[in-house]
């Protein structure tokens, strides 16, 4: 058992829900509302120094009643000790947890991937967009257990959507705003972009 688990229980009390072990790796289940505070402490406390975020992912179990888990894999580069921290999110409540991007910039894409695949919202993430699936992907969250292996839409529906997508909608509104080429687009194209064909992105500033 990793001694950090005991230190955490002393430091945070009831925010540490339980501690288990699997394959020699200590797993600490913590309160979802305090995850950022706890991870910040683990990162900055000189006795713990878990300064390297290895991975963020999520797990959904086959039993429908079990909550979804968000998994943080930590490693202390100085002490060479790993630790796994988990947050459980019951499915009957909104799937939300605080983002840890303020602690580790590397969490940016990892959290985006978890959002993309599981639909978990990371509060305070600077740019929470889909990353592996395209922005207008409408079938849901692929790694959820209720998502069928072949996808929700039939092949013909997928083809229909692909053919109906505007072939010029290569850029998001934010990107088009850079080059100010948004205003040179035809009216119907602008309308489609505004409706969110490329996802929900704030309208460009300085509309002429």
């Amino acid at each position: 058992m990793n001694p950090s688990a005991e230190t955490l229980q002393r430091q945070f009390g009831s925010a540490i829900r339980r501690v288990t072990e699997s394959c020699d790796r200590t797993i600490v289940y913590v309160d979802g509302d305090r995850i950022r505070e706890i991870l910040a402490w683990l990162k900055d406390d000189p006795g713990e120094a878990y300064n390297y975020l290895v991975d963020i992912t999520a797990v959904e179990y086959r039993e429908a009643g079990l909550p979804i888990e968000v998994v943080y894999e930590l490693f202390s580069l100085g002490r060479k000790v790993p630790l796994r921290v988990k947050v459980t999110l019951p499915k009957d409540q909104p799937l939300e947890v605080d983002s840890v991007v303020p602690l580790w910039a590397g969490a940016d894409w990892l959290e985006r991937e978890v959002y993309d695949m599981f639909g978990i919202t990371f509060r305070g993430h600077p740019d929470l967009r889909r990353i592996l699936m395209w922005e207008t992907y409408a079938e849901g969250f692929p790694l959820r257990k209720d998502f069928p292996l072949r996808g929700r839409f039939s092949r013909s529906e997928q083809v229909r959507q692909a053919l109906n997508a505007h072939p010029e909608a290569h850029y998001s509104l934010g990107e088009l705003g850079i080059a100010e080429s948004y205003h040179e687009l035809p009216e119907d194209m602008r309308e489609r972009l505004r409706r969110g064909e490329r996802g929900q992105i704030a309208a460009p500033k300085g509309e002429r």
């Binding site: 394959c23 290895v54 998994v71 894999e73 590397g106 998502f147 850029y171 080059a179």
Partner: protein
């Protein structure tokens, strides 16, 4: 082992000033008398949007970069990934553990054997299996073959990105020899699928060791030639030094791994820090850079290739005789003659084929030092033959996320060099 530079080129590169405009840089070596145009005309200041990829040779696959440019200086980079997304993690949840192995080949297809080994070791950790001595050494050889192949391709393609065509031909010629070895061992050049839970698909063929030693000798010669042609080449160093530099702190903060992290001076190598396959008993050095720029990443990968040759020599010297598979009917099929003659073996054979390897409930994260960085497989099992969750910690996906930070403020041509230095393989980024 800290790498020392023998050459430092002081070429000024464009950076942005406080107002976000590119600083003008005089052409030529600094101090040679060339002066900047003091009264250069103000060029509009309108930013341009440039789309690179997803079909572009310099993006090393189907990566798309939307670049905001001010003149030739990069102001912002927005990478778009996912064009090669195949849902491997989802597919894995519907397959037996041994059936997942072919999926791992197709992720980092420049280092398929390292991926195979990582998968087998993750499941073995979950089952508590101890593999045989011969299998351990053969897996080390497999991992290091992957490392060399991957670094050779990296060096070749990076050379092309920067404008050196010849190393590409040398590197691919050497890589072919390793592919021949891989083919002789596994029957496939690219999609090797060479491990099984508890062992290997096949033992090495006759003559493999001698062939490997011969190839290593020729590889050393080629690496010496590359060293002569590139390392102290002014153009090569000028295009790479001071480009895309990250400090060690930044690299840790971005969760980078592999050569990207070590070039920034952080001494983290999974082979040393969480040894597997008895790597702690091999005598090799982990090269560490100090500037964290593209040039140091080149030096680190170059030295890693040479260190892999050292590991090969030790592995070949110690390769013990004996079985390659564990003697455990939970994981490994019984030999054919036993399955045909003994009732018990026949039952094991039947259950293995029909039901797959039964893995106890639990979860395990196992990572290896793949050529690209820390490659980790995280399995959650509920005690059945198929995983509840199979997560891949993709090193290049995380390394690529540092691209915007590294390239902003540099020139567009530097963006290509920085992107090359990440050593991405889109099969793994997108999975």
């Amino acid at each position: 082992m800290a790498l020392k530079r023998t050459l430092d080129v002081a070429l000024g590169t464009t950076t942005l000033d406080e107002q976000g405009r590119p600083r003008t840089v005089p052409l030529g070596i600094q101090g040679s008398g060339a002066t900047a145009l003091e009264d250069a005309p103000e060029l509009g200041g309108e930013h341009m949007l440039l789309n690179i990829g997803p079909q572009h040779p310099a993006t090393h696959g189907v990566l798309r970069l939307v670049v905001e440019l001010d003149g030739e200086a990069v102001v912002r980079v927005v990478p778009h990934v996912g064009y090669l997304h195949s849902g491997f993690e989802k597919l894995g949840e519907y397959r037996h553990y041994n059936q997942i192995i072919p999926l791992t080949d197709r992720m980092d297809y420049l280092a398929p054997m390292a991926n195979n080994v990582c998968l087998a070791m993750a499941v073995e950790k979950l089952m508590g299996l101890e593999i045989t001595e011969r299998c351990k050494v053969l897996r080390v050889i497999a991992c290091e073959i992957s490392r060399i192949i991957s670094h050779l391709v990296w060096l070749g393609t990076t050379g092309i990105d920067i404008g050196a065509f010849t190393p590409f031909l040398w590197m691919f010629q050497e890589r072919e020899k390793f592919y021949n070895l891989q083919e002789a061992w596994t029957g496939a050049r690219l999609t090797t699928s060479m491990t099984r839970i508890g062992g290997l698909m096949a033992d090495i063929p006759d003559g493999f060791e001698d062939d490997l030693r011969t190839i290593l000798r020729s590889l050393l010669k080629v690496m010496a030639e590359v060293d002569r042609a590139l390392t102290r080449n002014g153009i090569w160093a000028g295009r790479m030094q001071g480009i895309g530099a990250l400090t060690g702190e930044e690299a840790i903060n971005m969760s980078l791994s592999g050569a990207m992290l070590r070039a920034s001076g952080v001494d983290y190598d999974v082979r040393k820090d969480r040894p597997y396959l008895d790597y702690e008993t091999y005598d090799f050095e982990v090269p560490i850079g100090e500037h964290g720029d593209v040039y140091d990443r080149y030096l680190v990968r170059f030295e890693e290739t040479l260190q892999a040759i050292r590991i090969f020599e030790q592995a070949l010297d110690r390769l013990p005789d004996g079985p390659i598979n564990v003697d455990d009917h939970r994981a490994i099929l019984p030999p054919k003659h036993a399955a045909m003659t003994s009732m018990e073996s026949m039952i094991h054979h039947f259950k293995q084929v029909m039901e797959g390897v039964q893995v106890p409930a639990g979860e395990a994260y196992f990572s290896i030092e793949s050529p690209k960085g820390e490659l980790g497989y995280y399995f959650v099992s509920d005690g059945t033959a198929k995983p509840v969750r199979w997560r891949v910690r993709p090193p290049t996906f995380i390394n690529l996320s540092a691209l915007p930070k590294m390239s902003e403020g540099h020139l567009l041509s530097d963006l290509i060099a920085i992107n090359a230095s990440v050593d991405i393989v889109m099969g793994e980024v997108d999975r």
